[in-house]
């Protein structure tokens, strides 16, 4: 009588891809709370909209590709992409921009490459970059202002929802550009000094952005603790960004200060949740350090000399290009080998 034959190992630590995705999602919760607390309902509505859209697009493409739909939907990766996009997009982003971003992320950046794990580029950032270059106005002026920044109460749920779904511009009092953008404009008009800085941002830890970044940092530390991610990418990225800022941008009248680089924009979200997206990042220990440092440097360069207010998406996507090359040149040294192997196999 035939017995069951299976190759070893026969035991497993009971981790699963779904659990990994859910843990990452869980770790974004502090950041999401802070964002909602300071900037209103926009982000939550974005995430809800993005999630529904992502599931719909994922299901539709899976169907077209004749793959089992429910099996792949439950891996949670589409929801995570939607969540990260929802967090990254400005709170008052018109609904159709979100749909375009999610659609591009799921259909083009992920499924057309073969679905989960096969995507060379971070889907969420691909979607984000697409809408950023295509609809720059909608993506730069639709950031919500916190009470501390505008002196106004944040918009109610109904007002926010109507802003998003009608696509009509929100009153200037409630929306505007991000601090990074504002600061850059101030620099170019030559009106920055420490006092202006204080005025614009209402002081340290008071505008909402810093708190959001600190919350994402906390979530990131949780991911490190749970060993979902390793320290290599976030640490090297933040160090590279800091070094660039300290060396190149020491003059705060000419360059955005380090505190703003680290705690404004999508820095922490990028460092712990986006740059660490395993499918598109480098995977060898040394490779991750190079990859993270690359993201950090590009982030600084594009933020400082580029025309867009933030640069996480571009920095990550550019490094995605380099990840396979970095991987093949940073193979770890195998046990019993004197030297690590590098590059591609020699022909014959």
């Amino acid at each position: 009588m035939a017995l069951l034959t299976i190759s070893s190992p026969h035991t497993h630590n009971n981790n699963s891809t779904t659990k990994v995705m859910l843990t990452v999602a869980l770790a974004t919760l502090p950041g999401l709370f802070v964002l909602t607390g300071f900037f209103g309902w926009g982000t939550l509505i974005n995430i809800a909209l993005a999630s529904v859209t992502a599931l719909a697009f994922e299901a539709a493409t899976l169907k077209l590709r004749q793959r089992p739909v429910s099996f792949y939907l439950k891996d949670g990766s589409a929801l995570l992409t939607a969540l990260l996009l929802g967090l990254a997009l400005p709170p008052f982003t018109p609904y159709w921009v979100t749909i375009v971003a999610v659609g591009f992320a799921i259909v083009f950046a992920k499924q057309l490459y073969g679905g989960l794990g096969q995507n060379p580029f971070n889907p969420a950032m691909a979607g984000y970059a697409l809408v950023l270059v295509s609809f720059p106005v909608q993506l730069t002026t639709t950031w919500a202002l916190s009470t501390q920044m505008s002196g106004q109460e944040v918009l109610s749920f109904a007002e926010t929802a109507s802003a998003i779904f009608t696509g009509l511009p929100v009153a200037d009092a409630y929306s505007g550009a991000t601090p990074l953008d504002v600061y850059k404009n101030l620099i170019s008009s030559g009106t920055t000094d420490s006092a202006a800085n204080q005025n614009t941002f209402n002081g340290w830890l008071n505008g909402g952005w810093e708190w959001a970044n600190l919350a994402f940092l906390a979530g990131g530390l949780f991911l490190l603790y749970k060993r979902i991610i390793t320290w290599h990418i976030p640490v090297s990225m933040l160090i590279a960004l800091s070094l660039c800022s300290l060396i190149i941008g020491w003059d705060q009248d000419l360059y955005t200060p380090l505190s703003l680089h680290l705690l404004s924009g999508a820095t922490m979200l990028g460092a712990f949740y986006i740059a660490t997206d395993p499918a598109s990042a480098s995977t060898t220990p040394r490779g991750k350090i190079i990859y993270g440092a690359g993201v950090g440097v590009l982030l600084y360069v594009i933020r400082t000399w580029g025309t867009y207010p933030d640069a996480v998406a571009f920095a990550v996507l550019l490094m995605n290009f380099a990840a396979p090359l970095i991987d093949s040149w940073t193979q770890p040294r195998t046990y019993g080998h004197k030297k690590a192997k590098r590059g591609l196999p020699k022909a014959n």
């Binding site: 009588m1 035939a2 017995l3 069951l4 034959t5 299976i6 190759s7 070893s8 190992p9 026969h10 035991t11 497993h12 630590n13 981790n15 699963s16 891809t17 659990k19 990994v20 099996f71 891996d75 990766s77 679905g115 989960l116 794990g117 096969q118 060993r227 979902i228 390793t230 395993p278 499918a279 990042a281 995977t283 060898t284 220990p285 991987d327 193979q331 770890p332 040294r333 195998t334 046990y335 019993g336 080998h337 192997k341 591609l344 196999p345």
Partner: protein, 575 residues
Amino acid sequence: MNLTLHRFHGGIHPAQNKEQSTHQPIKSIPLPSQLILPVRQHSGTPAKPIVSVGDSVLKGQVIAEAVGHRSVPIHAPSSGVVSAIEDRTTSHPSGLPELCIIIDTDGLEQWCEHPNLFNKTDCQSLSDLPNEEILEHIQNSGIAGLGGAGFPTALKLYKTKHHTHTLIINGAECEPYITADDMLMRERADHVIQGAQILLHLSEAKRCLIAVEDNKPEAIRALHESLQVLKVNPAIQIVSIPTVYPSGGEKQLIKILTGEEVPTDGIPADIGVICQNVGTAAAVYRAVYFGEPLISRITTATGDAIKQPGNYEVLIGTPLPHFLEHTGYIAQQPERIIAGGSLMGFTLPELNVPLIKTSNCILAPTTSELPLNDLAMECIRCGQCVSACPQGLLPHQLYWFSKAQDHEKAEQHNIFDCIECGACSFVCPSHIPLVQYYRHTKGEIRTERLAQQKSEIARQRYENRNERLARIEAERAAAREARAKAKAEADALREKQEAEAAATASPDSQIEDLERKILAQQDRVTKAQKSHQAAQEANLDTADILFKAVEKQQTKLQQLEQELIALRNNVTQEN
């Protein structure tokens, strides 16, 4: 003397599941009515049977002899009659049949003569004996590594050009579920220590480290006590190492204890280390001091489908159904029996296989205990496997290359350094059977290499053959040419002689000569015509050629006749 322990890269902490099989002491099971002894129970060349069907054998008698050094003999584990020598399924994941000697036991357990080493040689202590003699005794006792790989024990101990500085006795037993070595150390610590002493003597190493994972405190205590009681060589040291899988892997254990790494294309001896399992050490002790060949071993029976989990001293060749019957096995649906532990053990393809020298554990899990692998999802390159791999490989890349059948890249990423420990699959959140991919790819690459070698040989043989045929042809052509040349020379000579003769001979004799030639020629023409006719009647293709031959012969005849007429005219004119 304090030893600095080192760390190897990666490693995992799976649930131990060792406790359930350590509640009862080592027990024995009743003698089975039949023993199945495969000729290959070790790594290397299979042994060669030296008994025939119908022979009576005694317990401990050699029934198959070693073939070369990479082989060990096989002994009858009990007395009885050889009832068959035939192909049977053995304890191997392939389920392919292999030659086995089957003994129907007679229940008498009658030993053959088995003197211990000292009686055999009339010596009092090991130091009186040359190492070769001790090694030969161990070799003849059929001892192969009991840890699982089954490498012939004596072979590891022969002198090499490298000086051995450390002998490691491996009692780490890092694999979940298995407790055979643990129980052996607890109950027969003295055997292990004495065996270690013999091995230390043979290896001429400076120190002997008995390494045990710190999850086996009883074993460590027993070893320490025994060390004190026996007052053995102070170079023997017991080392408690941290519990992390796969610390019991030879390469990993050497790294932990010495900080050195076995070169990828080498063996531990290259860096002055020899590694032997604790079970092997005990077997060596019994062989040397009691003259007992390796005919039994301790096997763990565990898993929720076994009602009396524990360790059992079993005869080599015991059929698995007999073993399961006496350990309280309850068949599951679907039925799954694992030989070995939960991380590196292999599933047995069928029930009726024998326990062999390397069977350290029979694990019969229920599906709730060790769930069957659910459908694998795609690799998300999360890197958990990279962190877990004890060999410092990139398992996710190897998976990618295996799936793409990119053998070149897989080799470049050191797939052959994979020890198949299963740590990567264990942590894989996508539940990908990574190890199976690597095994398959390694097999494919090996097959490919063999095919390449074979085709290279075929190419050479083909070229040699062509060369040979060309040479023969050339020789023939040369011989033909030589013959033609000789003939031409002879013809020239004859013509010359004929001309001379003609010049000197009388015209009458010339005429006579010609007349004779004409007669002969007429004969030839008739013959040619006959064969032409025959061919024509038979409607053969050769008829045309034969017709030409007839014409040729007729022309010749006419020539001769004209010559004759000319000659006669000459004669008339002269007269």
